[in-house]
């Protein structure tokens, strides 16, 4: 009949590979993974907000510390929430991520570098 019939299982156990419903243990493991990710993310966020306003550390080091904490938290999100792993069915995802990181790096560093140079080489503006 219509193509939507393909998705209606004839009986409960008829699922395409990878589409089987998750069972009790998988659910528990999944929830545990998200709980670990949430705990790590909260920890890193709390440290970021604390460090931004504190005078307990050497002030000029704070921007670098904040950037490092943010990159660490992005890593936690990628692993525990987006499930970018080292597994064999994840190789394509990791390669795509590596290419994305390269482009982001080029755009950020290239823009800042070029604009900094232009600012340096521009004569003083007299108005």
């Amino acid at each position: 009949m219509s193509s939507t019939d393909d998705y209606e299982p004839l009986h409960g156990a008829d699922h395409a590979p990878g589409d089987e419903p998750a069972r009790g243990r998988e659910v528990a493991e999944g929830v545990l993974g998200y709980l670990i990710g949430l705990a790590l993310a909260i920890l890193l966020t709390a440290v970021s907000f604390f460090i931004a306003g504190t005078f307990l550390v050497w002030r000029p080091s704070i921007p670098i510390a904040l950037v490092v904490l943010a990159i660490a938290q992005i890593g936690v999100h990628l692993v525990f929430f987006l499930h970018i792993t080292t597994g064999p069915d994840n190789v394509n995802n990791v390669l795509a991520l590596a290419f994305g990181v390269l482009i982001v790096f080029l755009i950020l560093v290239g823009s800042l570098w070029i604009m900094y140079n232009l600012n340096q080489n521009m004569g003083p503006m007299t108005m």
């Binding site: 990878g18 659910v27 929830v31 998200y34 704070i62 999100h77 755009i107 950020l108």
Partner: protein
């Protein structure tokens, strides 16, 4: 000849053995499931979205000191509000993950509960952000005031727009599961929505660090 035909000689009594040998012979396992392929394709889109945001971040970083005599981030940003916004998005990422697991387990309490919590937290985030934007425009610090504020409203506003679209998508997925059940094709859309929502949280991590924490304090 496929890998499965190559293993046919082992008969019906030991199909697993035949399959294992055939896979070793052809050096490949089963084709990836549709779920993995859809996730990969959507991941490519998300990365292109991240590349777009990186251009906005670069623009903001270049223009952050061009305040044209107007207010700077230090005068405008309220880190208390930003902390609440961050908590909303982080918790919504968690509840969104629970909803995704619930959808795979066909567990309605987990799916609808997780999606409802995600929706409420997302709306909470948006209301704080809209309140913040309205307050800034009200005190004459709108996007037309300086290059710094143009870049700020473009970057943070674009993220807010993504959250708005995400909430519309969330409601669509709730309606589709409600109307059509936990069908394999619908569950793949739920997977894509969850990936989208988690990516918004990643971009917010960069925003609260680069824009708010670096702008207000250090």
């Amino acid at each position: 000849m496929t890998a499965f035909q190559a293993g046919a000689g082992y008969g019906d009594d030991r199909p697993e053995e035949g399959r294992r040998r055939a896979e070793a012979l052809f050096d490949r396992a089963d084709p990836a499931s549709k779920r993995i392929i859809v996730g990969y394709g959507f991941w490519i889109f998300l990365l292109s979205d991240i590349v777009m945001f990186s251009a906005f971040f670069a623009t903001y970083a270049v223009l952050v000191n061009e305040t044209a005599g107007g207010p700077s981030g230090k005068d405008l940003f309220n880190l208390h509000n930003v902390a609440i916004e961050t908590a909303c998005l982080l918790l919504s990422s968690f509840t969104c993950g629970l909803a995704a697991i619930g959808s795979r387990a066909h567990n309605s309490l987990m799916y609808y509960g997780g999606m409802a919590a995600t929706c409420v937290l997302g709306l909470g985030f948006l209301s704080i952000e809209i309140h913040e934007f309205a307050g800034m425009v009200g005190q004459g610090a709108g996007p037309t005031r300086s290059a710094f504020l143009s870049a700020f409203f473009t970057l943070v506003g674009c993220h807010g727009l993504h959250v708005t679209l995400g909430i519309l998508w969330l409601l669509t997925m709730v309606a589709q599961v409600f109307a059509k059940g936990y069908r394999a094709d619908i569950l793949r859309r739920v997977l894509c929505f969850a990936l989208f929502w988690h990516t918004l949280d990643i971009i917010w991590v960069a925003i609260f660090t680069v824009v708010y924490l670096l702008g207000a304090g250090a």
